[in-house]
Structure formats: structure tokens, C-alpha cells
């Protein structure tokens, strides 16, 4: 009797843990679906269109890597709460095209693709005014957030995608970050 209870408890907690993990992934995926419709409204001119009524963030850009089948909506901030739903725009970095724009995302959900990103890959970014920008990945490297920092100040038009590193670390919260830096190639004509 007592043994069976213990087994059931162990199994239940195991399921709960797996469920929590799966929930994180499900939430990450589902949120992007909801944000898609908010983005459509944003392009039509709605300011700060919320993906669901109680959301405290909203999409500010659409990020696509055509070759890698990536299509993501970038949220207005990079707080832990928002990053669960999508990659976030790091406040303090430049607006798209006006300097170095930094976008952060979770290494195990939205930004897991960064490990496969190579110099020469093209990013397409659509901004809220409907314009589309094309960036080309120039370099990728690893930085240590304890001693290094990102430069936001008046750089040439670049996009820096940032995620945690190593990609396979089991435990979150390490000091290393993986970044992919992309230079502006040209701006596509607006639709």
C-alpha cells in the first residue's frame, strides 16, 4: 500500500515536471499563433496591438529566415515574462535601421535556430510601418555577460540576435550569450 502510493507520487511528480517543460514549449508556440493576428492589425495601423486582452506586451516586428523556415514575431520588450511568448526587442538598443538593434530570445524555444545560423544567411524583418528590411548575417560569436557588453551607440545599421549559451546546457542562468550579428543589405520596397 505505502509502496504503491510512493510510486504513484513519484510518477505524478515526474509527469508534472515533464508537463511543465512541455507547457513552456506549448506556450511559446501558441503565443506566436495569437501574436500573428495582432501583427496583422499592427500593419493595418493599430498602435501597440495586444495579442490577447490581458497581454502587457505587443509585437513590434516580424522576423523571418526564409531558408530556415523561421517566422517569428518580435515583442516590444525582453522581460522574462514576454520572452516566454516570443523573442523581445532589447530596450535601449536602436530602432531597426538606425543603429544596432538587439533582439533576444530563448535558446531552447524561439531562438533555438541561432545555432544553425551561418554567415551569409538572410534575415527579413518587417517593421510596424509595413516596410521590410533585409539583413545578412556577418558573424556569430560568444560573449560573457559578466565582462562584456553590447554596444548600442550609433553603430551602422545592424541587427544582433542574442540568446543564451551553451545551447544544450540543462541548467538555465549561465553567464554566456551567443550572438549573431547581421548587417543591413537593402530595404525592400514597402507593399
Amino acid at each position: 500500500m505505502k509502496a504503491r502510493l510512493a510510486v504513484v507520487a513519484l510518477a505524478a511528480i515526474g509527469v508534472w515536471q515533464v508537463g511543465s517543460g512541455a507547457y513552456i514549449h506549448a506556450k511559446a508556440w501558441l503565443a506566436q499563433q495569437l501574436i500573428a493576428s495582432a501583427w496583422a492589425r499592427t500593419i493595418e495601423g493599430e498602435h501597440a496591438a495586444k495579442p490577447w486582452p490581458w497581454a502587457d506586451t505587443w509585437p513590434v516586428a516580424r522576423l523571418q529566415v526564409i531558408d530556415r523556415d523561421i517566422d517569428l514575431y518580435v515583442l516590444a520588450d525582453a522581460s522574462g515574462r514576454s520572452l516566454a511568448f516570443g523573442p523581445g526587442y532589447v530596450s535601449g538598443s536602436a530602432p531597426i535601421g538606425a543603429g544596432n538593434t538587439v533582439i533576444a530570445g530563448h535558446r531552447d524555444t524561439h531562438f533555438a535556430f541561432l545555432r544553425n545560423l551561418r554567415p551569409g544567411d538572410e534575415l527579413e524583418i518587417q517593421t510596424t510601418d509595413g516596410r521590410e528590411w533585409r539583413f545578412e548575417v556577418d558573424e556569430t560569436h560568444i560573449i560573457d555577460s559578466r565582462t562584456e557588453r553590447l554596444q548600442f551607440d550609433d553603430a551602422a545599421a545592424t541587427v544582433t540576435l542574442l540568446t543564451c549559451y551553451p545551447f544544450d546546457a540543462i541548467v538555465p542562468g549561465g553567464p554566456l550569450r551567443y550572438v549573431a550579428v547581421a548587417d543591413l543589405r537593402n530595404r525592400l520596397p514597402s507593399h
Partner: protein, 671 residues
């Protein structure tokens, strides 16, 4: 009994397990991270052929020569290339605000090449040509009034090239104490969603977009000779350990560690021992452009504090760049400011980051209850988000003013922003009768903006670099806040002399502040100079112009101040073209680096053989000491999903194992 308690115990154990795994493994992850960083990190970069090359090593040697109230400083940057390829070093660095940069010397081995002043785009072109032809060359551009950058091309394998940059500066003086600041790093600036008109695209490629700082590859040494013309006391460097030795004319100060990491600003202060007479210093330098004078005069002090009650609006920066020690200093400074309020005074507090929030909608009386409320509020401030100064400042300036109170805005920030011009315009237009006092916080605040803002706001700028300075510096600020202001300061020159002042107006002065003026006169002046002003009553002093001492550098200092005035005029509507056409000839005439002029030095002997590639390295700035980085710019971007999966799988396996084992036991057991 046992079976009932088993389940909760296991849940508890699992919770502990998860926390324990998280905590126990993090340090290991850190240790691994460091190793990976060295082997594959960003400091090792590759050249065109895929070979890896280190960024040049950089040592900065600062030599300061202070005589009286003028300092000549030489900053020598040694770029050492310890790779086996040819490299170019690019380095952005701060200099004190209002420094008149007039010298560039490039030293290669025994040879010295002296730089020349050129229009900015032309200087860059000369540099790029030399770079392409394999000649050693260097160029110094001004990025912002206190931000410069050097580029050094064609540093050969194993070679060291020294770039020496020289500037002049007027020493700060306050309440008899002299001080100099040398900024050693830059707090990254926040640019709200505005375009800055700054800078031409030709040097945009010099901007580091990612800064990789490695303190091991950068170091700084500082040496200062002070000749104050009088015995000195209280030679203090609040942020660096120093050694002080007596010399013939004064003292020599050195950093105790001549390989210090450049992670915080250097400050040095000293007090000349003088008798009761008011301090006057008057220097001249005649050039082809006319007679230039530098005047410093300590006006008589009023003894009685003002009795008008004050209305103080504290504005505090709680943005991400303030994370770490900065926010602690800011909280301490603010609490200190609150404690000085008298019952008749009124106050409120506004905090801002990406948004702003007022403690009270308008100033309230400084009652014990309101103050207690404020103390609690301030103690709970923490740093996060962007630096949207403008809306907070406008809110502070728009608060209804009381006629019985003296309105003072105390602005506590590191001002890590790039939209200085926009803020200056708001201050000029909206301030009204209020006075703006800026308090700079952290290892490397934006001193240029804070000083200018205080000047435009008819207040003062106080710099607090460490928590144990808060008490003293805030005490001095309070003394200024409660002392009568010196107004209507006028200078009367002998008949027929029309001086061009820079800065154009002296403005009002607070207790302990000297009058410092540079001026250009059409011809040498003789006779008496009369200075008058007003505190509680009127006063007048006469100074003989015959006693003026010649001093080189006075002309350059005047020109630098004049250029500063012309650049500031943009905030009140001067067009870019008009500013350029005024500043450019002045900067070329007086040989100064400005927004439109740069220094360039080229060694005509080709160094790099044809065909050898040149790789370009950006040299980063070190992270300001005490700044918590992950808080801003590098969010944590890993979910615990993996961990959840791992623990879940482990537990399910354990449950399965246990289940099988009990079943086997039950089967074996006789029924």
C-alpha cells in the same frame, strides 16, 4: 502511518532536488563558460585568410601637468600587435568635457610623426589612402564633445605604435579645492527612439558595434605633476590608490598600480594653502588672432544662508544602466537630500526609467509623515528598463510653482543618453524660475551633458563616484542650495576694449564657485579691470591688468569654449550649416579637434609590403566598475524546460523501477 507521510515527503524532496540542482550546477556552468570563452571567445578574431588574430593590446599612459588653474594632459595610447599579421587598431575613448584637443603625435620606434589638423572628411580620406598604401597612419576624430576615437593603421607583427593625444583643460575649482577628472570608460548610452544628427557616415565604420572588453588586454597608468604656486594639502584620489611625492614646485602623484584596469573614472583633488586674500589668476596669450585672456576670480562670499523656504523636486534615474552600485549611491544621495528638508519646505520625488512615476502629484509639505512615506518609497527603488529622461523632466518642470518657495530641481542620474540636444532644448524652454541641480552617479556618468544642463538650469553639477562620498558631496550641494546666489556679475574693461567672451555669459554663481572667463580682445589691454556683482548687497573689485602673466594655451582654451558655445547654439535653433561655417574656420585657425575637424598623422615610408593583408580590430572599452550588466542589454534567455524534462524523466524512470521491484517482491512473497 508511514505510507500516508510518504507522498508529501517525496514532493518536498523533489522540490529540494530541483532547487539544489539549479544552485549546485550553476557555478560549474560558470567555470566551464570561462574556459570556453578563452578558447572560442570573441577576443580571438580571424583575418581574411581564416587565421586567428588577437586585437592589439592597449596601454594608456596619462601625464598631467597642472600649473595653477590650467592643466596640459598627454594621453599616450600604445597599440601593441602580438600577432604575426598586420593589423589596424580602432579605439573609442572618453576625454574630459571641454578639453581642447590640439596635439597628435605618432611614435613608431625612434621616429615621431606630428599630426596635422584637417577638415574631418579630408582627414579620414588622407588616413584611408595611407592605410591602403601600406603606410603607418593614425587619425583622431571627435564623436561627441567628450567622446573621441583613434584609428591606427598598419601595425606590423610584434610592433608597437604609440599615439599621443594632447589637450588643455581648465582645472575645476570649488570652495578653495581644485580638482581634475579623467574619464577612463564609457557607460553605454541609451538612445530613445530619435535620430541623432551627429556624425558623418564616413566614420560610421569605425564604430564598434560589439564591445568585447578584456581587462587583461588593457591597462592604464597615470602621473600628475601639480604646481599650484603655493604649498598643497589634501591631495586626494577618491577612486584609485595613489602615491604622492614632493617635488620642487609642488607634488607628483602616481597611480599605485601603474597597470590599472580602465574601469572607472580617475579624479584628483587638492587644496592650496593660501592666506585670506581673494584668489585672482589672470593670464594672457597674444597670437595673430588677437589678445587672449583667462581670468579666474573668487568673489566675496555672503555669510548668511537664505531664509526663503524651498520647494525641491527630486528626479531619480532608475534605468537599467544604473543597476548595481549606481542605484545604491543614487538612493543614498536622495535619502540624504530628503533629510536636509526643513518643515517649511515642500518636496516630491519622481523616478524614471522607460516610464516615470511621481511620489506626490505636486510638491507636499515636508512633514514627518510625508517624509516617512518618501523614505520607504526611495528604499524600494530598483534599476531596470530604458532611460526616458525627457518626459520625466517635463513633468518636473510643469509642476505648479508656488510664489513663496524657491523652486529647485535635483536631478540624480548617470545620464547615459544620446539625445542630449533635445534635453537641453527642453531645459532652456521650460525651466522658468526654477533652478536645476544635476548629480552625476556611477563610475562613468555623462559629465558633458550634466554640466551643460546645470549651466542652462542656473544650478550646479555634483559628481558622486562612490557611496562613501555621498555624505560629503551632498553636504556641499546643500550648502549651495541654501546659500544666496551671486547674480548680475559684470566685467568692465578699460575704455575702447570690446571683449568676445566664451562662454558668452557668466551666469549666476553659488557659494564657493569662482568666476572663470576666457575672452579674446582686439589688442593688449592696460589699466584696470572692474568686476561687480550682487549677493545680499552690491560689491565691486578692481584688478590691475598690468600683472597679467603670459601663458601658452590660453588662446586654445578660449577657442574651445567659443566652439562649445557655437555648438550649444544648435539647441536654441542655429542650423547645422551655420554652425559648421562658424566652427570650421575657428577650429582650423586654432588647430583644435572638433565635430568638423580631426587630427591625422601619416608616416610616408611604406611599412606593409604589397600583398600582405591588413585586418581591422576594434578595441573595446571595459565595463564600468560596479555596473550590473545582465540587468540591461543581455536578458536571461534560457527556460527551465530542459531541466523540467530531465527531472521529470528521472522521476518517471525511478517510479517505474520501484513499481517493477515491488511487484516482483509481491510475487515472490507467499500468499
Amino acid at each position: 502511518m508511514q505510507s500516508k507521510s510518504a507522498a508529501p515527503v517525496i514532493v518536498f524532496l523533489c522540490a529540494i532536488l530541483q532547487v539544489w540542482i539549479l544552485q549546485f550546477f550553476s557555478p560549474i556552468a560558470h567555470a566551464q563558460g570561462t574556459e570556453q570563452d578563452i578558447s572560442s571567445g570573441s577576443l580571438t578574431l580571424r583575418d581574411d585568410q581564416g587565421r586567428s588574430i588577437d586585437a592589439p593590446r592597449l596601454h594608456t599612459a596619462v601625464r598631467m601637468q597642472v600649473s595653477g588653474i590650467v592643466a596640459r594632459v598627454e594621453v599616450s595610447q600604445s597599440f601593441h600587435n602580438d600577432s604575426d599579421g598586420w593589423v589596424e587598431g580602432l579605439y573609442a575613448f572618453p576625454l574630459p568635457e571641454n578639453s581642447a584637443v590640439d596635439t597628435l603625435r605618432m611614435q613608431v620606434g625612434e621616429r615621431i610623426i606630428v599630426g596635422e589638423i584637417r577638415e574631418k572628411a579630408q582627414a579620414q580620406k588622407i588616413f584611408e589612402q595611407a592605410r591602403a598604401q601600406g603606410q603607418r597612419a593614425s587619425v583622431v576624430h571627435q564623436q561627441r564633445p567628450n567622446l573621441f576615437r583613434t584609428a591606427v593603421a598598419n601595425i606590423g607583427p610584434g610592433e608597437t605604435i604609440d599615439v599621443v593625444i594632447g589637450y588643455l583643460q581648465i582645472v575645476d575649482q570649488d570652495a578653495g579645492r581644485y580638482s581634475l577628472r579623467f574619464p577612463l570608460t564609457i557607460t553605454p548610452r541609451y538612445l530613445p527612439g530619435v535620430q541623432t544628427s551627429d556624425d558623418s557616415s564616413t566614420i560610421a565604420d569605425l564604430m564598434p558595434r560589439l564591445a568585447h572588453a578584456n581587462p587583461q588586454r588593457q591597462s592604464v597608468s597615470i602621473e600628475a605633476d601639480i604646481d599650484a604656486g603655493a604649498p598643497l594639502e589634501h591631495v586626494v584620489s577618491p577612486y584609485h590608490p595613489i602615491s604622492v611625492a614632493k617635488t620642487e614646485g609642488g607634488v607628483r602623484v602616481q597611480l599605485r598600480d601603474q597597470q590599472s584596469p580602465p574601469d572607472r573614472d580617475f579624479e584628483l583633488s587638492w587644496t592650496p594653502v593660501v592666506s585670506g586674500e581673494p584668489a585672482v589668476a589672470l593670464f594672457r596669450e597674444p597670437t595673430d588672432q588677437g589678445e587672449h585672456v583667462l581670468l579666474m576670480f573668487m568673489p566675496p562670499q555672503a555669510a548668511h544662508p537664505v531664509s526663503t523656504p524651498r520647494e525641491v523636486i527630486f528626479v531619480i534615474d532608475t534605468s537599467g544602466s544604473m543597476a548595481g552600485q549606481s542605484i545604491e549611491q543614487a538612493r543614498a544621495a536622495l535619502l540624504n537630500g530628503l533629510r536636509t528638508l526643513q518643515p517649511a519646505d515642500r518636496f516630491t520625488v519622481i523616478q524614471f526609467n522607460s516610464v516615470h512615476e511621481e511620489l506626490f502629484d505636486e510638491p507636499v509639505e515636508a512633514s514627518p509623515r510625508n517624509l516617512a512615506h518618501a523614505y520607504r518609497y526611495v528604499n524600494n527603488l530598483y534599476a531596470t528598463g530604458g532611460t526616458e529622461i525627457l518626459p520625466a523632466l517635463l513633468t518636473a518642470l510643469a509642476m505648479r510653482e508656488s510664489t513663496e518657495h524657491l523652486r529647485q530641481v535635483v536631478f540624480i542620474t548617470d545620464a547615459a543618453v544620446g539625445n542630449e540636444d533635445q534635453l537641453m532644448m527642453a531645459i532652456r524652454e521650460q525651466l522658468g524660475d526654477a533652478r536645476l541641480f544635476t548629480v552625476g552617479i556611477g563610475s562613468a556618468p555623462n559629465g558633458h551633458f550634466l554640466r551643460n544642463a546645470a549651466r542652462a538650469g542656473r544650478g550646479t553639477f555634483t559628481y558622486i563616484g562612490s557611496t562613501n562620498e555621498v555624505e560629503r558631496k551632498m553636504g556641499e550641494l546643500l550648502h549651495k542650495l541654501t546659500s544666496p546666489v551671486l547674480t548680475d556679475i559684470e566685467l568692465h574693461w578699460p575704455a575702447g576694449i570690446e571683449p568676445e567672451y566664451a562662454p558668452a555669459s557668466i551666469g549666476d554663481l553659488y557659494a564657493g564657485e569662482p568666476i572663470v572667463v576666457t575672452a579674446r580682445l582686439p589688442a593688449a589691454a592696460k589699466g584696470m579691470l572692474t568686476i561687480s556683482g550682487r549677493t545680499s548687497g552690491n560689491w565691486t573689485r578692481q584688478i590691475s591688468l598690468g600683472g597679467m602673466q603670459p601663458r601658452t594655451g590660453v588662446a586654445a582654451l578660449w577657442a574651445r569654449n567659443r566652439i562649445g558655445d557655437l555648438m550649444d547654439a544648435r539647441a536654441s535653433g542655429a542650423t547645422e550649416e551655420a554652425t559648421r561655417s562658424n566652427v570650421l574656420p575657428l577650429a582650423l585657425q586654432y588647430q583644435l579637434v572638433s565635430s568638423y575637424t580631426s587630427l591625422v598623422a601619416v608616416d610616408r615610408t611604406p611599412a606593409r609590403p604589397d600583398g600582405e593583408p591588413l585586418s581591422s580590430r576594434r578595441l573595446p572599452n571595459t565595463k564600468p566598475n560596479g555596473l550590473d550588466w545582465p540587468a540591461e542589454g543581455m536578458p536571461s534567455t534560457a527556460t527551465p524546460a530542459e531541466l523540467n524534462f530531465a527531472i521529470g524523466a528521472l522521476l518517471l524512470l525511478a517510479a517505474l523501477g520501484w513499481h517493477l521491484r515491488t511487484r516482483r517482491l509481491q510475487e515472490r512473497r507467499p500468499r
